[in-house]
Amino acid sequence: MRKNNFAIKMLVLALTVLLALAGCNKYNEETTKTPTDGKDNQPKQTEKAGSGNPDVFNYATNQDIPHLDPHGTSSNTSFRVTYMLYDRLVTYDGTDTEIKPQLAEKWDLPEDGVTYTFYLNKNAKFHDGTPVTAEAVKYSYTRALKIGKSAAGQFNGVIDENSFEIIDEHTIKIKLLKPFSPFLKTLGTVFGNIVNPKLSEHEGNDNGEAYLADKDMGSGPFVLDSWARGQKLVLKANSDYWGEVPKLKTVNVQIVNEPATARLMLEKGELDLLDDTMLSPDVLKQLEGADGIEILKSPGYAIDDISMNIEKKPLDNVKVRQAIAHAVNYDSIINDVLLGAGERIGGIIPKGMFGYNDAVKLYDFDLEKAKELLKEAGQEKGFKLEIAISENNEVRKNIAVMLQSDFKKIGIDLEIKSLAWPTYLDLVTSGKHQLAIGGWTPDYADPDYNLWYFAHSSSKGPGFNLAFYDNKKVDQLLEEGRQTVDEGRREEIYKEIQAIMAEEVPYIFPSQRKVQVPVRTWVKGFEINPMNTWYVPFQKITKD
């Protein structure tokens, strides 16, 4: 009996210590699989010498890669990989937010407003050696529409299966259903990836989605080497690439769930680069000046947003929404939560992008004003609200906790719902939420992109109008903007929309983020694109 007691006590002690050290414990698991095991057959000594193996690049993220179908996925982690496996007619490169030619050497802009002609590079070939043809372009875009998922959202209403005219093997005409000024920009996004038409042999009854989920049928600078789901995805350089062959021979995209672990691995040189969303500003500040590590900083187009579901009472009242906007301590979010890595913004168009309106109404942090507005709305007695956030995001959690503390002072009892990402997504897109904190980065630098998603009434819910905002005037302006070619007029339109939205506040925009990426100093050629911060140009990176 005595012995037994002792055993139980020891067990409890051990369990408690285990719980307390859960973070560290995880690390031990991870280090047993150093990135050197597996495919690369380099001698161990080179690993120890400074930069490690210059041919092998180790990247880490804490979010899993769901699947690799370029037309079906809406996950940044998948984008990052498919952007390397596939090419597009046009692409984004470096820090530039304008398109550059890729598979299309050149193109003719429409004279009638709707017909584009693309001339393909004749050297381009898929990983199996077959050339990239006009047929492949038609096949890919038609497939994107047929699958009806993320990529279709971009092409619906713009093109359909009859939009294509194949002139010859390397020339294709695309006729839009109606004028859509950002069309070329959309083709450079991950949804514009061109897939090998040989996929049609494996289509089954789901357009080959299941088949392509863990395979690569692209023409890009990298090929898929192996993928241990939830652990590591390995890319190999495509030595026959029709363009410039990447310097790195192997890229390991590792899933490291615990940010603290990733940080340690970076410090030890086992990782070269971390996902920019992985570490909180507090940790980045600690890492600043660490030996062999650099925090790359760059302007970004990422905007934090708090959506207020206007279909839920009392958020349907504009006075209540304005009161809430006055109860957000913007300075504290930027200075204390983001530690200065952000700036104040009044709308969903980021500073630095075409169409940005610098004159919209900004709400100051003023609890008295907030109380007054609540009184005018007849809500001075106070009420309860729920705010949804996705878990494992320190910054959003801290913002939510701060809001909770401040809202209490104006009589709003804020309950925080911290949910797993899929649950969160389901809640907000089905409109069951009241408030939700999210973030948004445009896939291409056009105000139509951000505003159509956030403000058009047809985007409610799954289209990411999470405030369920519905304003006829805004709808009409957005539709006009899409069909207007004159840049001056377009700018006016988008500025006007931002001004209307700032007055009606379906969303609060606490900050426009600066991108901060921790990277080993031996990494060269890594440039941050303000728009697609998930995009890592592995094809240009070198290590020395």
């Binding site: 859960a22 973070g23 507090d282 940790v283 503390s405 925080i416």
Partner: protein, 272 residues
């Protein structure tokens, strides 16, 4: 009896810890120096000092005050889970043992189903299905916990079912329900109640574990597991944010276990 209880220093320590926790729970508003929910971002991640004994967390809340308020949550969960699971388990176990036959079969097979899953995994899946909140953790743990009592009580019921005092109660014409509640249960409950006192600590630990993985207490609740979880990332730069909640869990669980052990030594007839 009291002398025997106090003769073991370990039990005394356990008793002291438990009493301390009860005092903290009751007098939390008077003892804690600060509001546990007051966010002060200008003072975040301050190391322990005379102003903040245990330092401040990632949004500038006073960790000492949060830990004191945390005793309320932990104690509430521990007690409520046991208070729900214990009577349910006891009554079912007694019925199974006393009635026997098909009823016994049905109750014990259901019990087996629950016991065939590892407790914490079952609690995790229930809590995950119900959605993250401290009340659901409570429910999940109660659902996972009762079968243990059923088993213990059933076996001790079986051993006294045919004892002479039960027989005599029957002979004088007491109806079976009266026999069950007046004779059987009171005389077979001791082992299960010792188990229950030990379980308090385990329940607190399990609840902290569920909160740690995000299924339990939601912000801004000063639940220890949740506090540990949110300090993970800054563990290396702000040791105090993780250390003190961890210590709080350790001390509490240890206290309940030491006391439970002492009670077992005292009440278990086999130990005399």
């Amino acid at each position: 009896m009291a002398r025997r209880l106090f003769s073991s220093p370990l039990t005394l320590i356990g008793l002291f810890i438990v009493l301390m926790i009860i005092v903290l729970t009751i007098f939390a508003p008077w003892i804690s120096p600060k509001d546990p929910l007051e966010v002060n971002l200008g003072q975040k991640l301050l190391p322990p000092s005379s102003e903040h004994w245990f330092g401040t967390d990632e949004v500038g809340r006073d960790i000492f005050s949060r830990i004191i308020y945390g005793t309320r949550i932990s104690l509430k969960i521990g007690l409520l889970v046991v208070v729900i699971a214990f009577p349910v388990g006891t009554v079912l176990g007694a019925i199974a043992g006393f009635v026997g036959g098909v009823v016994d079969q049905i109750i014990m097979r259901i019990t087996d189903i629950f016991l065939s899953f590892p407790g914490i995994i079952l609690a995790m899946s229930i809590a995950a299905a119900l959605g993250p909140s401290i009340e659901n953790v409570l429910l999940a743990l109660a659902i996972t916990w009762w079968p243990w009592y059923t088993r213990i009580v059933r076996s001790s019921v079986l051993s006294i079912k045919n004892a002479e005092f039960v027989e005599s109660a029957r002979v004088i014409g007491a109806n079976p329900i009266r026999v069950l509640f007046k004779e059987i249960i009171p005389n077979s409950i001791a082992p299960a109640s010792i188990q229950a006192s030990l379980d308090l600590g385990f329940v607190i630990l399990a609840a902290a574990g569920l909160s740690f993985i995000g299924l339990g207490a939601q912000p801004p609740s000063p639940e220890w597991g949740a506090m540990l979880s949110s300090s993970r990332e800054i563990l290396r730069d702000a040791w105090w944010a993780a250390t003190f909640p961890g210590l709080a869990i350790l001390v509490t669980v240890l206290g309940f276990n030491l006391l439970g052990d002492g009670l077992r030594d005292l009440l278990d007839p086999k130990n005399r």
